[in-house]
Amino acid sequence: MNPAVLTGEHFMTGDVACAEGALAAGCRFFGGYPITPATEIAEHISARMPEVGGTFIQMEDEIAAMASVIGGSCAGVKSMTATSGPGFSLMMENIGLAICTETPCVVANVQRAGPSTGLPTQGAQGDMLQARWGSHGHYEIIALAPSSPQETFYQTIRAFNLSETYRMPVLIMTDEMVGHLSERVVIPKAKTIKSVSRPRPKGRKDRFKPFEPGPNGVPPMAIAGEGYNIHVTGLTHDEMGYPDMTVEAQDKMMARLVGKVRRNLDDIISTEGYRLEDAEIVIVSYGVSARTSLAAVEEARDQGIKAGLLKLNTVWPFPEDQIRRLSERVKGFVTVEINLGQIHLEVERCACGKVPALLAGHPGGTIIPPDQVIETLKEGF
């Protein structure tokens, strides 16, 4: 039996499921730093890594944790870290470095209420726009949002696969409620788990261009030590990896970095619909709030309101087209999230004023009660 895949039925928290998902996906390096409510991921993986021949290192802060993960991935090992609000802020510069150097890696943010120290032991979904725009410069990012420990397990595997496919950091934007929730998690047989590894260069080593894109816009990634020249830089660079301080080089590099996400939206974006077929009001939600929303849909239907749920498994890139298409035929949207309106802004943008887009939110500390969603539905429509 593969010790990295604990095939069977378990009762585990979202944090532990994240750690097990990482191991099942082939993660063998974890640079960690304790922070509530993400600490359990590091704790669990610190005991599990030696069993699968991997390495867990506790770093001196989140800057170092994120940097070590980039280094680990550059050296050819699937790598990840996990954190929460303040640590996520400290990781931002290096997340940008991973974007620019096209280094696959996974970062889990078990969200707690901010700003600053906020409510360290209580959940929120207030880092969703930070996930999108937190590092400087303009870029695309991939962020997933699991709603349960079971989903956390699978989405962590998916995060690794996406990061390896597109050579970029992928964020798992979970929350304290899901992270600390204990539920049934079924881990399948190892051979049924699809594991993707980064494209590798083939052909002559003396003609290797480290940033020459493959068919999906992603360049094959050489590993330090296998003979291909490697020069990794956060400076604007050309296909050879040479720094090029021109407007043209910036334009070309950015077109590719942004394009590899924008041209592969169908592969990256994952959503689930619930009772959307005849829905007049669409609730848009993700993470723990999608569970609240499910209860709200049932309650609304009982009261004669034709509500449906669009659950975002991928939050970034945002499913713009889906919202646009829905806005042609529904009466409105309600975004349910534990903040004061972040993904709500995206829904509002994509609804384009055709139908109203409302928010059922609060700044964090607990879930959004289904009653609050119902109230918003009734007041707004």
Partner: protein, 289 residues
């Protein structure tokens, strides 16, 4: 009446929110008593920031600034510089940070402040792991000690923070611990007398994280000193070492056997800890001229 005139004025009040028997809470009380009520305290995420309690149910009877994890020293530097700008020179600024906030995430900013010799007293409340988040290893965790992220025992040695601070040639640095309150308070007094960056490394046993009974914090602190695991000394200007307590040189088992975090140790590990303690003490004696 006699008792009233001799009892020192407490800055830290009862009703703090530490675990029972907390060594950090005892240390804070001693440090603050020596500091006095005319002072400003900076603290960063650590057991200290929990222990001091949520305002207004706060245990500290002085102005408190809760800053971010990695910036205890520069926050204190900002405050003391602003006092200077306003002509205030009689209010000491004291920064509390834990071992994680000092040895790990805050080391860069502490080094910067010490390099500039910014004017504050920095007190590292060292309970030898991230106790606040549930006992994760830090670079202040001793070798072989169990923590939740060193489940088979810590493989690294404890970072020599005093040597790092001495290398900055700051005017005053000292070790202290709650097992020797007079020594501790004397060192706070001395720190108050000088200006510039002053550093206290305060060993603060944690019954929760060290897996001890609740009454064991002071006893284990005494044992740490008497076994040369944690000698008491001070360093003036980074070079002038003075040992402030001649230890009994007890075998290290006296200290280790008090704590559940060491219960997995074999004879070889204990020998290794013993030889390290012997060397620390011998090295210190050479420096103490």
């Amino acid at each position: 009446m006699v008792a009233e005139t001799t009892r020192p004025q407490e800055v830290m009040r009862s009703g703090h929110s530490a675990c029972p028997g907390c060594g950090v809470a005892m240390g804070m009380r001693m440090v603050l008593r020596a500091l006095g009520t005319r002072s400003v305290v900076v603290m960063v995420p650590s057991c200290v920031s929990i222990i001091s309690g949520p305002y207004p149910n706060a245990a500290l009877n002085v102005p408190v600034f809760h800053s971010a994890f990695e910036v205890a020293a520069p926050t204190a530097a900002g405050i003391s510089n602003a006092f200077k700008v306003q002509g205030i020179d009689d209010i000491p600024v004291l920064a509390f940070a834990g071992d994680g906030g000092t040895f790990d995430i805050g080391l860069q900013s502490l080094s910067g402040a010490a390099d500039r010799n910014d004017d504050f007293i920095y007190v590292c409340m060292d309970n030898e792991a991230y106790m606040n988040t549930g006992i994760q290893v830090s670079s202040a965790t001793p070798r072989f000690a169990w923590t939740s992220t060193s489940p088979r025992g810590n493989t690294r040695r404890k970072k020599q923070i005093m040597e790092i601070m001495a290398a900055h040639r700051i005017p005053y640095a000292a070790t202290a611990c709650i097992g020797f309150p007079d020594d501790l308070e004397k060192k706070v007094e001395r720190a108050k007398e000088v200006r510039g960056t002053r550093f206290l490394h305060l060993l603060s046993p944690c019954p929760t994280g060290w897996k001890m009974a609740e009454h064991m914090a002071p006893k284990s602190a005494v044992a740490a000193v008497e076994t040369n695991i944690f000698p008491l000394y001070e360093i003036v200007d980074g070079v002038q070492y003075t040992i402030t307590h001649i230890s009994k040189g007890l075998p290290v088992e006296t200290y280790l056997s008090l704590q559940g975090r060491y219960e997995h140790l074999g004879a070889e590990e204990i020998r290794s800890i013993q030889s390290e303690a012997d060397r620390t003490w011998a090295d210190l004696h050479k420096k103490d001229r």
